[in-house]
Symmetry: C2
Subunit: 767 residues, 2 copies
């Protein structure tokens, strides 16, 4: 705090208003400020109109129901591929067209809503809006053409389906996905040069292979001429870089002379090991560099928004611009209605640590970060049984039981039971002894949960952050239900549903995972993996976009060219229903089901291509039935997905793990968190006991137990920071960068989308 | 420099001696100081005895001839495997035994020499000496047992051969290799926990697969039962992690129901993508952490050694310990006789930048780093033709020619010629037009080199750092010679040697690489790759050690079980001479030559296993002919080489590239180099012209052209720092760390091998 004065009169006394014109802030002011703060909170970068009407529309635009609806319709739109020709479940064309029209209407409605929210010139300058409009228009055009030609019985390609996944990227909520694409785009120039050099090396080695091996009349295992065609060699050696044809491509040369292996070993060393590592290095390096820049911009934008919110709510107080506690309270209540009174009180004490009754700009700007830190309100409460049957619960045997359950041996005993269970699962379940033992194990597990509930307060046991308790209970209860249904079915008609049995088996095996949680070292690794989970979802979306586009193109190119027959006696099964495939590796390896006949099998095929192995067999198979240039499709997929996207994924996991490791070592606690922790104890024990706990008792409805007398007896309030568990790489980097930034630095963001430069006193409703 | 006085009397005037007892330093003093400095220069950490006799022995021990001899004998010892049973070229047992005995004698001589150099207690405390002695003794024991049993006609295993590559690790020169092994050892604990978790996940998924798929009576493509045996499933799923059996293992389940692909996709996502990335992250993280620590110790040890050298040569000068210029000169001359007088003069000016005539401790310690910076002495000299035929060389057409050759178009023209050449190489060389065109291209290339030599001074053209000039000339000249021999052979008897033709082809293709050098962006990537080359050699040694051990074990386990027949009509070729292999994938894929029948094919097989693809087919092949437990050998190899060593290699390339990138950005130039550059200009133009150049003319014999008059006419001397090109990751990190370290900090190294703590005045000959 840079304020020199210490004793300022009461906050509400000498109030002077500079901005806004009235002493009391209007509802519109709070709406606007709340929108700024929540934009800062969720890192939204939308430069909306600041007129009260636009702000109301913007609030509506950000309503969760609209967002859910949007994603539901995007999903429906993408899922249409299941029902369109080539379909998994065919539906008449009019039905899918009708649904698609509905989707287009919803998207149009959404974009119109967005256009109403932001200034017109901003709207038309934003490429993502243009993208959406173009996609929607092209979709309509395609639907009309398709419908017309379909009516005239002409066959035509539904080309606009390729555009569908792009909506996922261009909607305002696709921020993370856009960032992933930007990160790819930024890495492209550097990757391109390495790729050119790699291609040069590939072409050189191919030329050498042609000269060395082409004239020796060697034959492949299939009896075909070996290394005689230059383009064929280039493809074979490209496949060798992916290691998919590793010893096979070398064997004819090796069989002819051991010396030729030197050629292949040098080739593999240079192209597979060195070049592929260089690709990873380039991608990783770009990823890191770009991430830093993105985070820098995010932090700047966030500060800027918070400063705008401050400008809206500021009042003059002893020559300074400040926000009063009352206004601050109302703002927080509006931004995050789910924050409890006690928690809000705590945050206020962190912001106003000198107890002035108001906060300055620097302290106010912290609010977005403070709200992002997850604080768990813990309250030690007596066990419900203690109030119901206090005598029994407090008796000696009951206490002994509690001690037993809390003992380390209890955990070890159940770990051993799980291991024995694992052995029993492995044994043949047809044996009645084994199948009955399942009941014993289920009983033991249920007993374990009941015992833990006896010892532990149920609400604490099932608190939001006790992942393993939830996991246990859900698995055991579902296993119990599934096993009961299964045996009921069995005893009634002797018939067991295969599906239910499968579910029972899966649940039984999943139960075993619990054993991992007992070992500290495993828990840390697993927690890291869980923590990077949400970010992996962004990669999931990225993969879906790319796969969907390739699946659509692949389906148009290769649909119904390969057939899969369920019937084992079908003679054309031997060549997948396509005589061209006779005696190819594709048919011999029984890959008939790897086809582009519908969207599901296309996706599975693309996953197989991502895993890389045997991709040349699949590629050759489809090249055989169409044209040799079909290989381009597969090579393109390999370059895009394996060389670029998988490497970015690996780079992401690498970075996430380093951040985790450095967190473990430094135990990074920012000044903010330390402040909370210092204050937390003070809050819990001294000053706030009177007003805070009363607030909580009256307002926090989820904590009302109906027994205020018992609860008030020992109101031991505790706060716990949960944020450490939920930190993402971005959040951490953001915090690291914030420490570098001057707390007084509220410079405008230099983003291209940056609005007016009239800060620090933006005219209210200036548009 | 921390000296407060500026005007000190002449260096040789008020000389007082504190240490050593005499005013002039003896030859022993210089020997000892030179040893310390050269140890610091080459990062040797040998705590030798400081008695004059031991120092002389130590100098002998470090003589390059002995080192070369040692490596020759290590190579011979390793190569014995080629001649021993199972041999590539069989030799009688007595011959190989005799050679091995000779090798053992050489190694014994070397270790005895080493024992004489360092104090006895140090010698016995060092594990690497114990290792060598144990290896040598075990080898002798094994040779005696083998010889005795061989005489008695009993068959026995030569088990001590496994120990041979360990000598490579334990000799004093194997510093880099030991470091690589240490880096692996340090990463092991962390890798172990991730590996346990990975194994747990593998076992769980296998259990689930057994329960889900085991009872469905599915058949593999070969008609065998699918997923019915638990251990078989574990192996199959382990192979799936390596992606080697990627779609095949899934196909039977996929053919039965599409739903099962979910199981495999989840499995691949978790185990192949996430766990394998985590392995890389753990290995990389450890590599970085450990590298930093190693470099820290290296820098400390280096400073410590330099401080010792200073202590030996120091004299008292105005209350300070200093080293005089004369002593400094003699020391540098002794340590690096190859450094020219001019270069030494330059270094002295950098050290003694205030021109006192002596250097203090801080400046003296820099010497090791200064000597490590490669400085190229450039001297603009007239072209020899100018002095021979000045009129012709200075004439207008000659000048035009020079301008033409130096023009950008000249390079572009020859790049185009190379591209045309590439096309011609690709065409059929049987065509007489094409084969004659080769002569045209050869003439053009020779012409290019001659033209360049006409323009450029020949010694500058063939300077040590002009990689591409050397490359060009060697390739073109060898191609010329080979082509002439080839056509001579052809015209004489019509018979063309295939080997010579192969060499001609390879040289022709290699010539094309030159085109890469013309493009700036490619050159930077290639330079990075060349720069990390030497460090890759350490990985080469590491790989040889591990491969050799696996090859020895593999040969004992699997030798002569699989046979390869050159003859295509041999019926047992179908099952590689082993009926057990009938109808296995191993025989069907024609992998008979992938065997352990001699050390060369073992190495090739191990390379194939490193590339991973089809390793399960090889593993199953050898398991079929011996026992299913043979798979352990292959899985162990995969874990050790692919999961650990290849990941360390990737980590190394990643780190090397980041260092390169950050060098590009910061253009890291330490203060040391800047100082040289500042001084360089001063040196070249002003003060040093008189004495420096004279020195050079008289002493630098390699520069004496026999025409002093012409040369002295314009003695434009220039220094160029070449170190930037030859920086390794280690050297860079070392420099980065040195900047962190206080220049006055000469604290003793805390290495376990650290000698006496009697610094800063160690008693001379104290042992």
């Amino acid at each position: 705090m840079s304020e020199p004065e210490k004793n300022i009169p009461e906050a509400s006394a000498g109030k002077q208003v500079l901005n806004g014109g009235t002493a009391a802030k209007t509802k519109e002011d709070f709406d606007l400020a709340a929108v700024y703060v929540s934009d800062a909170l969720y890192n939204r970068n939308i430069y909306f109109d600041t007129s009260p009407q636009a702000v109301r529309l913007y609030l509506l635009y950000n309503h969760w129901a609209f967002k859910v609806l949007l994603y539901v319709f995007i999903t429906v739109n993408l899922c249409l591929a299941i029902f369109e020709d080539p379909a998994v479940f065919p539906l008449p064309t009019w039905a899918t067209m009708l649904v698609e029209l509905l989707c287009v209407l919803v998207f149009t409605f959404r974009i119109v809503h967005y256009a109403k929210v932001i200034p017109r010139d901003k709207f038309w300058k934003d490429p993502k809006n243009i993208c959406i409009i173009v996609i929607l228009m092209l979709t309509l055009v395609d639907m009309i053409i398709y419908g017309a030609l379909k009516a005239a019985n002409c066959s035509i390609v539904r080309w606009s389906r390729v555009l569908r996944p792009l909506l996922l990227v261009n909607v305002t909520e696709g921020r993370q996905l856009r960032r992933a694409f930007r990160s790819i785009r930024n890495a492209l120039p550097q990757i391109f040069y390495v790729f050119l050099l790699f291609m040069f090396s590939l072409l050189m080695f191919s030329l050498m292979a042609l000269k060395l091996l082409g004239k020796r009349n060697l034959k492949t295992a299939a009896g075909l001429p070996y290394f005689t065609n230059y383009l064929e060699i280039v493809f074979e050696l490209y496949v060798l870089v992916t290691t998919a044809n590793s010893p096979d491509v070398m064997m004819p040369a090796y069989n002819s002379s051991t010396v030729f292996t030197i050629f292949f070993i040098v080739y593999i060393l240079i192209n597979t090991y060195i070049f592929m590592s260089v690709f990873l290095a380039v991608v990783y390096n770009n990823y890191k560099k770009y991430l830093k820049e993105e985070v820098r911009q995010l932090v700047r934008a966030k500060r800027h928004k918070m400063a705008r919110a401050f400008a809206v709510l500021q009042e003059e107080e002893g020559g300074q611009s400040v926000v009063t506690q009352a206004n601050w309270n109302q703002l927080v209540r509006q931004v995050r209605p789910d924050v409890s009174n006690a928690h809000r009180e705590l945050l206020w004490h962190v912001c106003d640590d000198k107890k002035h009754g108001f906060v300055g700009k620097v302290a106010f700007v912290q609010l977005a970060d403070l709200l992002n830190i997850e604080v768990i309100t813990l309250k030690s409460r007596p066990h419900p049984l203690q109030s119901l049957v206090p005598k029994i619960y407090q008796s000696a045997p009951s206490r002994l039981l509690c001690r037993l359950v809390q003992h380390r041996g209890f955990v070890i005993a159940f770990d051993l039971i799980i291991l024995v269970n694992a052995v029993f699962i492995g044994l043949d379940e047809e044996n009645p002894m084994i199948s009955n033992s399942e009941w014993v194990f289920l009983t033991l597990y249920v007993l374990e949960i009941l015992l833990k509930l006896y010892v532990c307060e149920p609400r604490a046991f099932f608190s939001r952050h006790s992942f393993w308790n939830w996991f246990d209970t859900i698995i055991v209860v579902s296993a119990l239900i599934a096993t009961i249904i299964n045996s009921a079915l069995k005893s009634s008609g002797g018939y067991t549903s295969r599906q239910i049995l499968d579910i029972v088996f899966i649940l039984r095996v999943l139960r075993l995972i619990r054993v991992v949680d007992s070992i500290q070292r495993f828990r840390t690794i697993i927690n890291t993996l869980i923590r990077i989970g949400p970010a992996i979802l962004t990669f999931g979306q990225l993969i879906i976009v790319v796969f969907y586009i390739f699946a659509m193109v692949g389906m148009e190119l290769f649909k119904h060219k390969v057939k899969f027959y369920e019937d084992h006696n079908e003679p054309s099964k031997l060549y997948c229903g396509n005589p061209l495939l006779n005696n190819t590796a594709f048919a011999q390896l029984n890959y008939c089901k790897n086809n582009f006949n519908n969207v599901v099998s296309s996706f599975i095929l693309l996953v197989e291509l991502t895993v890389v192995n045997q991709w040349h067999v699949l590629s050759d198979g489809f090249a055989t039935i169409t044209h040799v240039s079909a290989r381009i499709f597969f090579v393109l997929f390999h370059i895009l997905v394996v060389i670029i996207i998988v490497n970015i994924f690996v780079a992401f996991v690498l970075e996430a793990f380093f951040v985790e490791y450095s967190m473990d070592k430094n135990d990074l606690q920012t000044s903010l968190e330390k402040k909370i922790e210092e204050l937390e104890l003070a809050v819990a024990q001294e000053k706030l006991e009177d007003n805070l706990v009363n607030n909580m008792e009256t307002i926090d409805n989820d904590l009302g137990t109906g027994q205020p007398s018992t609860t008030a007896k020992l109101p031991n309030l505790m706060f716990k920071i949960a944020s450490k568990r939920y930190r993402t790489v971005d959040a951490l980097l953001q915090r690291m960068f914030e420490e570098d930034l001057d707390p007084e630095d509220f410079a405008e963001t230099d983003e291209p989308e940056a609005q007016t430069r009239s800060f620090p006193n933006p005219g209210f409703g200036s548009t």
